[in-house]
């Protein structure tokens, strides 16, 4: 070693002014010596620290941690490294430090020798990390809870959907089976009464056979209505297969047939405009049949029932007009709902109150709509509109 180099500071100065806190304690933690650096960091002077226990300088959490973790480890493995501790400054604020400690045996007993490093910025950073982790954990658990709730709702929805589907198909099947089973005996009744009518009958017998035949026809219509109702309400909806039709011819044929069915009424047909319309012919006949039957049931038969087929630029319209009592506004509002009837007294003249509901369902299946007006001057007019898409060019 060269003699002209300056001498090192004495060990006392090196200890006191070391760039870390240095503390020597007894095994029970009683402080024997603490350097100036440590005293400065913690805000106590050296004299105030000697005789106190090191652990008493810690926060309560730190003291428990000392007792349960690092004190046993000092004993067992003789040292601990990089333990983070919060110490309470003389001013009562906390000072975070990292501790390395060694238990060293000397001739006169064992001592704990501690080195402490201030770690304010690093601690701040670590706390930020910790907060970020807590936040992330919180968000994760929120997300998981939301996912679970969503899955739960989805499952319930699926279950409800399956249930509704099963119920609908059951209802549809049931109605189909029932109406099919009812049709056969009705057909047999009609055929038998027709055969009987061919022989020689008294006037009374002919009249009775007529009743049987008409009643069977009515029952058949009611069954057809029920089937349509079931399809519209719980099943797949009323199906239509539109093709290009000459509207006026179609309506005229219907009216001719209805004249036979309702000889007591006067049916007039009026056609306006020209051209074809895209319609389901059977279903349009069903509409006219239902509306005319309604007019016969509720209208004034002393005056004619007028059926109009009209081709306009954007739509085709079929309307049925009768003269009779004005329908009250309150009834107009619910007229197209199922099970609605004009009056209770005439309940034997029509079916179960599904006719207008089915008319509207058929119109809607074509993409169209229905309307009704009822005044003392113009009587009652039901109109069915088929939109431009349904009108052939």
């Amino acid at each position: 070693m060269s003699t002209d180099e300056p001498p090192l500071p004495d060990p006392q100065t090196l200890f006191e002014c070391a760039p870390c806190g240095l503390v020597v304690t007894k095994e029970d933690g009683t402080i024997l010596r603490a350097n100036q650096t440590f005293c400065h960091w913690i805000g106590f002077d050296s004299q105030a620290l000697v005789g106190r226990r090191f652990q008493d300088l810690l926060t309560m959490g730190g003291r428990i941690f000392h007792q349960t973790h690092w004190a046993p480890l000092m004993q067992m493995q003789g040292s601990v490294a990089e333990v983070k501790l919060d110490l309470v400054h003389h001013d009562k604020h906390t000072v975070t430090m990292l501790l390395n400690g060694v238990r060293r045996e000397h001739a006169n007993g064992a001592f704990n020798e501690l080195a402490l490093f201030g770690t304010i910025d690093r601690d701040k950073y670590e706390r930020e990390l910790l907060n970020a982790r807590k936040l992330a954990e919180g968000l994760l658990s929120e997300k998981m809870a939301a996912d679970a709730a969503l899955l739960d709702a989805q499952t319930q929805l699926n279950r409800a959907y399956e249930k509704a589907k099963r119920r609908a198909s059951f209802a549809e099947q049931m109605v189909a089976i029932v109406s099919h089973d009812l049709k056969n005996p009705l057909t047999a009744i009609k055929m038998a009464s027709e055969i009987l009518a061919q022989g020689e009958r008294t006037a009374r017998e002919t009249k009775l056979l007529g009743h049987i035949s008409q009643s069977a026809e009515r029952a058949q219509r009611m069954i057809a209505d029920l089937l349509d109702f079931a399809l519209a309400r719980v099943g797949r909806g009323i199906g239509v297969s539109p093709t290009s039709q000459d509207l006026h011819t179609l309506v005229r044929q219907s009216v001719d047939e209805l004249r036979m069915a309702f000889p007591e009424a006067t049916l007039l047909h009026q056609s306006i405009g020209t051209g074809n319309a895209n319609l389901d012919a059977d279903r349009v006949q069903q509409i006219i049949g239902n509306l005319v039957a309604n007019s016969v049931a509720y209208g004034d038969l002393a005056q004619p029932i007028t059926i109009t087929s009209r081709l306009e630029e954007n739509q085709a319209v079929v309307s049925v007009q009768n003269h009779g009592p004005v329908i009250p506004a309150s009834l107009i509002a619910i007229l197209f709902e199922p099970m609605t009837r004009g009056t209770d007294t005439d309940s034997d003249v029509r079916s179960v109150g599904l006719g207008l509901f089915i008319v509207r369902e058929i119109a809607m299946a074509h993409g169209g709509d229905v309307s009704v007006s009822s005044t003392p001057e113009d009587g009652t007019v039901f109109s069915v509109y088929f939109p431009s898409g349904a009108v052939a060019p």
């Binding site: 095994e27 029970d28 933690g29 226990r53 652990q55 926060t59 309560m60 959490g61 730190g62 003291r63 428990i64 941690f65 007792q67 349960t68 973790h69 690092w70 004190a71 046993p72 480890l73 004993q75 067992m76 493995q77 003789g78 040292s79 601990v80 490294a81 990089e82 333990v83 983070k84 501790l85 919060d86 975070t96 390395n100 400690g101 060694v102 238990r103 060293r104 045996e105 601690d123 670590e126 706390r127 990390l129 910790l130």
Partner: protein
Amino acid sequence: MDLQHRNNARVMGDGPATLVFSHGFGCDQAMWRYLVDHFTGRCKVVLYDLVGAGQSDLGAYDKEKYNSLAGYAEDLGDLIDEFATGPVILVGHSVSAMIGALVDRQRPGTIAAHVMIGPSPCYIDVDDYVGGFKLEDIHSLLDTLDSNYLGWSSTMAPVIMGVPGQPALGEELTNSFCRTEPEIAKQFARVTFMSDNRKDVAGLTTPTLILQSSDDIIAPVAVGEYLHGVLPNSTLCLVANVGHCPHMSAPCACSEAMDSFLSPWIDPHVD
């Protein structure tokens, strides 16, 4: 269920009675090293790690089961069934003393005697009872645990340097003590320090030795005296010691008191 694996159980020695040592919060069975040799010549000794601590099977840790001390008591009961022969004396440190009391309550007769080291039936002050802590102290501990487990180990490694009088610190010594998985440590801390077992200990008639440190912030003398008051067959032994681990820092005083208390079951004369 392989209990040996689950709880890292070790069985040593032989004799007419069995001493089961159960460690407390923050450490593992290694903490018994200063006491165990004293007994292995005269009785059977069972050491184990609580699930989640030391070298227990972390895969066996079930957050639900270990959300109260009852889960640990169930395990201790299993271990006694599996390994103990003759009368069973439970040596429980800190929270394990209460785990032992729970086993005794659930299965009377299983435990012939208790040695409770630094026990506390309730750490938090409630009404007139003085446990020594307030709720915010426990939160402060959880904070300290949090900040110590971030970034570095789940153990506190020794200083890597030569220490006179200590063996060279090889790889197997580093990180070998008191390993704890951070999340488990936090839950165990909460379960331990929030527990209130005063009802379980009150009137327990099993002979009990309370080893009470003269200066212990975790289990203050007043708590030892409280337990002595509610355990009709208890002996309170005050050990001159600073800290919560008299079996480590004052092992001779502890073994002396234990020899005299255990004389009905274990020959007090060391060969």
